[in-house]
């Protein structure tokens, strides 16, 4: 039997402490990292941080000197309390997290559907993001590059070059109703990174959304469910269309995040066509029972 004296005890303890403190960074998939992090609470910034921490912390996704493309939903000319765009406080929290992880630049952009000036301003995202230290320029129409996305439906499509040239892409959607795809959450949010005649994708929407996800593969999806849009999506209008959920759901698997998000609307991942297509293609899974889900209340 090995000698278990004080010296070896101290060594073992030190090693254990070292692993406990630095382990998550040394070991990519440590035991403490959940597949989905769900944080609930009153403060949007606190729950965003908690959700990201639950899936391993921002350091797992953003390294020092990275250029990060943070893709919130800034699609519509609506105020934050109308839940058509990502909550600006959630956006600000993510910007701060990225900068704390040492990111060199954080870009916050979307290809808006209403007038971009109004969308950026009235959503509160321009102010929140720039005050937190990000850059939030309007998309430059000249920076869409024709790319072979490899998608069954998408094919060769104009893609915003900054979104694919950066080190890290983080998807920052808001959970909303949508008449065609039924719901618009993380996977549908990637629409804002493409140009061209994207309205035609409606003709094969579920496959198109799966194509988008398969191509962009965001490193992290953080779903803003602080206030969700339950009807008349994707932009709503009346406050009665919205509902407070005080929740943020984070995950690496975009299919799983959307599947969990669907439950906020009384649906499951299997009810969403684009989720099924993506799962069939192996982009992710919607079987939540197989995942390690960590729920935190802040």
């Amino acid at each position: 039997m090995k000698k278990f004296d004080r010296r070896s005890f101290l060594k073992t303890s030190a090693a254990g402490a070292g692993i406990a403190l630095f382990g998550p960074r040394l070991m990519p998939a440590a035991v403490t990292d959940a597949d989905l992090g769900i944080a609930t609470g009153e403060d949007p910034e606190a729950i965003t941080r908690a959700a990201v921490d639950a899936v391993g912390g921002i350091g797992k996704f953003v390294s020092r000197d990275d250029v990060v493309f943070l893709k919130p939903n800034i699609g519509w000319d609506r105020l934050p309390n109308q839940a058509a765009n990502t909550n600006p406080l959630v956006v600000a929290a993510m910007v701060k997290l990225c900068l704390e992880a040492g990111a060199k630049r954080v870009l916050v952009m979307d290809n808006s559907l209403n007038d971009a000036r109004r969308c950026y301003t009235r959503s509160g995202i321009y102010k929140a993001a720039t005050e937190a230290g990000a850059e939030a320029p309007f998309m430059n129409v000249r920076r869409f590059k024709l790319v072979n996305t490899g998608g069954a439906v998408l094919g060769n499509w104009p893609v915003y070059q900054d979104a694919i040239e950066v080190d890290t892409l983080i998807n920052l959607p808001v959970a909303k109703h949508h008449s065609l795809s039924r719901l618009s959450m993380g996977m549908k949010n990637l629409y804002g990174l493409i140009g061209g005649p994207r309205h035609r994708l409606h003709q094969r929407l579920d496959e198109g959304i799966a194509d988008l996800t398969g191509f962009f593969r965001p490193k992290l999806t953080v779903l803003d469910a602080y206030r969700i849009l339950k009807r008349n999506g994707p932009q709503g209008g009346r406050l009665s269309d919205t509902e407070m959920r005080n929740m943020v759901i984070a995950g690496i698997d975009p299919v799983a995040v959307d599947a969990r998000g669907a439950e906020l609307f009384g649906l499951t991942g299997a009810d969403l066509g684009y989720v099924r297509v993506a799962a069939e293609r192996g982009i992710g899974t919607y079987d939540l029972s197989k995942l390690n889900i960590k729920e935190v209340t802040v």
Binding site: F138, H202, R238
Partner: protein, 697 residues
């Protein structure tokens, strides 16, 4: 010296004009108000937050080019006539006219009986009528005009009138941006002294502008108001908004596009930096604007500018109705030119820089109505025999000429207008439908979609001065100058063209910039409930109806809540449901085709015919016969037997046009807007409920 100050003033005001023009655009707002108000946690009176306009959308009026329109007395006059309605103004105008014509004599006579001095009598004879006219105008505007929605700042034109009364046509010589531009173009010619002396002589054609003014005002009294087409401030703003701004944008954007076309990242990055200096919100527009009818407006503008190469300030001297109005006032101005005839050597150099061609040499007398107070004559005179002085114009000589307009010509101009008006109203859109009562119009132009907040059409046409500010400021480039949608009378008034741009739901910018209140400034809550038209589906083209394809991009973009487009499930009908052309009634069997016929059959619409097989119903669901899927794989995803078809809810559609704008049918849309249901015109309805105001359509 004064000449240089005047030149500096012209340049300064032109720069101010350009700056304000660029400022007449939505710039966004950086501040969003108190955080706890904008991001409320929990539920408390949040509804009002949806409608607070101030933080996001206001263009402060002082920051826009509108101020130039407000100081324009011709537009004040025209808008007042429009706002008053015929009878009020006719009576008021008639009384004022009488006082103007005879009031001076009355006052002078009274003063003479009281033993007043000659100069006082003279002054009374001249200035009493004018003061009366202006007082009547002011009285007309405030109690009645403002009550009927005429924005108060429009009355600033009175200030210009008072200035002109005192100093002469300094507006033309010192401030007018149109005048400065024309003077600049004329200056480009660099004529020699002799040529300049010749070109700046008075010409009889300079009386055309008075006839033009009279014609415009006479027509306006009859309810046919197109003063804005010819007003110089309106013209220059319209031309810059609709023509010059797009051209400037094209030049810079084109250059920027070229740098991106190189594909070189270093070039692109450098170009990004340069471009950001001129890009929105500095000089260029956010979206490159393009306007319908820009070529016509631009053509008129360029031709007028080109005429300066023939005679300097050709427009100002010969056609400008504002110049005519100010000239009628300035002919008795306090500040006037005087000549020492004994010193004059008749060299003619006083003409060489004369802007107004007012004959400062006093050959047959000076024409104060034409003088722009440019001070060229005073500076050029080698013997200093000319000077400007304060004081009433002496009347004892023939040296101070009135307006060179005989009664006959004046009456002719008025008569021409009075005849032209019924002639123009002979066209079809003025027809009324006798079966529905005299007042009911027979024809409604479906393309005549007016901006939200527009007043009823008859008064709209009278109030709109066609300045083009609303078109410039419209976020989505949706408003365009009409050509004939509203008849000749509606030339260059704003119409919404949804194929080009839609009306942004929460935006009220057009009402904010309209100087005359033709488009009222609505608060946001009213605006989103104001109907400007209705959407209709063209089911021959709309994808779910005609081709069984899923779409509903229109429903996705509809901004109302609940949405005005609702979805109805329908059978997905495609070619697969078609009958076989070989066997349309489905009798089947060989009786309809012999084996030899079959074998020789050319490729039919049913695709490849296998021998012995007629019916195409076994064809592969996903790939059409004879066609290869463009992406190699067949669709892995069965879209199902049901397709969603969109329908319009007449009670909710406001006609904003976003559905037409985004419809994937890029040429002729599958959903289009017509003016039916517009709130401002209760006659423009299709439903019975709409007739009684129970429904909006």
């Amino acid at each position: 010296m004064r000449r240089r100050i005047r030149l500096a003033s012209q340049i300064l005001f032109f720069i101010i004009f350009l700056v304000l023009l660029v400022q007449t655009e939505y710039k966004g707002e950086d501040t969003l108000g108190e955080p706890e108000r904008v991001f409320p946690v929990g539920v408390f009176s949040e509804t009002d937050l949806l409608f607070t306009p101030n933080q996001f959308m206001i263009l402060y009026r002082g920051d826009t080019v509108r101020v130039f329109l407000e100081i324009d007395p011709l537009l004040t006059l025209a808008a007042t006539i429009a706002a008053q309605g015929f009878f009020f103004f006719a009576i008021g105008f008639g009384v004022a006219l009488a006082l103007v014509v005879w009031g001076g004599k009355l006052a002078a006579g009274m003063l003479a009986r009281l033993g007043a001095g000659d100069s006082l009598i003279l002054a009374a004879g001249r200035y009493v009528p004018l003061t009366v006219a202006i007082a009547m105008m002011a009285w007309a505007v405030f109690p009645f005009g403002v009550d009927r929605g005429l924005p108060i700042p429009m009355t600033l034109g009175i200030a210009t009138v008072l200035v002109t009364l005192t100093l002469g046509r300094v507006f033309c010589g010192w401030f007018c941006p149109m005048g400065t531009l024309h003077q600049f173009v004329a200056w480009l010619r660099r004529d020699k002294l002799k040529a300049r002396i010749f070109k700046n002589q008075y010409m009889p054609s300079q009386r055309w502008k008075y006839m033009f003014l009279l014609g415009l005002l006479a027509a306006a009294l009859l309810g046919f108001q197109i003063t804005g087409v010819a007003d110089p401030i309106s013209l220059v703003i319209r031309s810059f908004s609709v023509v010059v701004s797009p051209v400037v944008n094209q030049i810079f954007n084109g250059a920027y596009d070229l740098t991106y076309a190189t594909g070189n990242d270093a070039v692109k990055d450098f170009a990004d930096q340069l471009y950001s200096v001129v890009a929105y919100p500095n000089l260029l527009s956010f979206h490159e604007p393009h306007f319908m009818g820009a070529v016509l407006i631009g053509g008129v503008f360029v031709i007028l500018l080109a005429l300066n190469l023939r005679r300097p300030r050709w427009w100002c001297r010969n056609l400008c109705p504002l110049g005519a109005l100010l000239g009628s006032i300035s002919r008795n101005s306090f500040y006037h030119l005087e000549i020492d005839k004994e010193t004059c050597i008749h060299c003619g150099r006083c003409h060489s820089g004369c802007q107004g061609a007012c004959d400062p040499e006093f050959k047959e007398g000076w024409r104060p109505a034409e003088c722009f107070v440019c001070f060229h004559c005073v500076d050029e005179c080698p013997v200093n025999c000319l000077s400007f002085r304060f004081g009433p114009v002496p009347a004892e000589t023939n040296e101070y000429k009135g307006i060179d307009l005989k009664k006959r010509r004046a009456l002719g101009a008025v008569a021409a207008a009075l005849l032209a008006v019924p002639l123009l109203k002979a066209s079809e859109q003025y027809k009324t439908d006798a079966t529905q009562g005299a007042a009911e119009k027979a024809l409604f132009n479906p393309s005549l979609i007016r901006p939200p907040g527009s007043i009823p059409e008859e008064e709209f046409l009278q109030r709109c001065v066609r300045c083009g500010e609303c078109m410039k400021v419209c976020l989505t480039n949706a408003l365009h100058p009409a050509t004939f949608e509203a008849g000749v009378e509606g030339l260059w008034t704003p119409v919404l063209v949804p194929r080009i741009g839609y009306c942004e739901y929460y935006c009220t910018l057009c009402g904010q910039v309209c100087p005359t209140g033709a488009i009222r400034h609505l608060d946001v809550r009213t605006k989103i409930n104001t109907v400007i038209g209705t959407a209709f589906f063209d089911t021959n083209r709309c994808l779910p109806f005609a081709f069984g394809k899923t779409c509903i991009v229109c429903e996705e973009h509809c901004p109302t809540s609940p949405k005005a487009i609702y979805l109805v499930p329908a059978d997905r009908i495609t070619r697969d449901d078609a009958v076989s052309t070989a066997d349309p009634y489905g009798f089947g069997g060989d009786r309809w085709a012999s084996p030899t016929e079959e074998a020789e059959a050319p490729e039919t619409q049913d695709g490849e015919l296998q021998s012995g097989q007629i019916s195409p119903f076994e064809n592969d669901q996903d790939t059409q016969p004879g066609q290869i899927s463009p992406f190699g794989d067949d669709s892995e995803f069965d879209q199902g037997e049901t397709v969603m078809q969109p329908r319009i809810d007449l009670d909710l559609c406001i006609g904003c046009g976003i559905c037409e704008k985004v419809c994937v049918l890029v040429d002729k849309p599958g959903v289009y807007i017509t003016s039916i249901g517009e709130t401002r015109n209760p006659a423009n309805r299709i439903t019975l409920e709409g007739t009684f105001g129970e429904s909006q359509q």
